[in-house]
Symmetry: C2
Subunit: 211 residues, 2 copies
Amino acid sequence: MVSKKYIIRLCRYRNVLYRLKSMGFMRVVSNNLADATDVTALQVRKDFSLAGITGNKKGGYRVDELIEKLNQILGKNEIQKVILVGVGKIGIALMYYKGFEEEGIKIEAAFDIDPQKYGKQKDIPVLPLERLRDFVKTNNIKTGIITVPDMAAQQVFNLMISSGIKGVLNFAPIKLRSTPDIVINNVNLVMELENLIYFVNTGERNKGEIL
Amino acid sequence: MVSKKYIIRLCRYRNVLYRLKSMGFMRVVSNNLADATDVTALQVRKDFSLAGITGNKKGGYRVDELIEKLNQILGKNEIQKVILVGVGKIGIALMYYKGFEEEGIKIEAAFDIDPQKYGKQKDIPVLPLERLRDFVKTNNIKTGIITVPDMAAQQVFNLMISSGIKGVLNFAPIKLRSTPDIVINNVNLVMELENLIYFVNTGERNKGEIL
DNA sequence: GTATTTTTGTGAAAAAAATCACATATATAT
DNA sequence: ATATATATGTGATTTTTTTCACAAAAATAC
């Protein structure tokens, strides 16, 4: 059983590794990864050790090997298909966000209840919410993003789950009622700021990463 | 010394409490808060105990009192002033995001290097980046949001810090080089999704909240 | 007014996560 | 070839966080 924190660290390592690779690096030491990811070198080595990834005493790790191993664990070979519901400002920002496709994540379609929104954003079709169920089933989508107002979030969530979606990234600042087999990640922008402001105002050192 | 996780939980409690209050609730039991915030009732009570907040055996806690105590700890009396740099899609989404003002957070100004962006978004002035230092000093801003492309993030961050900003909410998926007296919260949207997809694909239960 | 139920409150215990200490391998220099 | 410096790797330890177990208070029922 792995913890979320652990998986996030592995994702981070991989991201950095891809960048290193594109820069021509062949090898990397735990210290490099530590510098780039906000964890200690020891933690990096421990994580790799736990993941069954083994390096080379002196000379560190081979970048290629590392990436392959991480991909094996994190499972990132094919394009990851995602849908989005709620074509407001945040939804649109996400649809145009370049970071996703760079990492092999593709928003296949977006949904809304407002007919004015129907059409396309970038190259992503915006469809009526009624078509969600069909689309998810036909395209075997497993992951959804919720960027609707608070009041609508639970309802949209229920629709997603009943259509076959297994994981949701939720931007509405409410706790979604769900079952244990569904994975939910919440992004609460207000809370991020409030928390930041707390530490700024108190002048306290903060310990521990949010992510 | 308090941990970030702890503070985030307190923020969550407070948010729920405000909503309960607006619904007319006078009292609340730890179980209610647990339901609404994704923590156990025991954790709620332990947190309150640690915070020196004391309730009433049977009958739970008084909502008003709770909010006041939490405000005392989290410090939320006056409007929190914030600036934003990077008036792209995400930046604009944040500028129009209603959740902030509801919680007393006000984006006082936004900055960009692109003259086409200058003017206003909603009621927020968009100014040239060169005016950031002055603005921050004059208005005694302590908190900033970074929504610029990766390449520019570190530079913008340095400018912010040298102008007197103490806390940064960073949307660029890079690790900002900083000193321990500066607080940084990172929001990495790709990582949120990647992580979600991992748990969806492996079918593993995830344990532990990201936030 | 006594018993019963509900709910808080907290020291102790358990679990989880991070760090330490040190053994071990390997490249490089001499 | 030998010594030296650099990194990994992991069992043990420490620290942090969460949960348990149960005591105590207050409301309600009888």
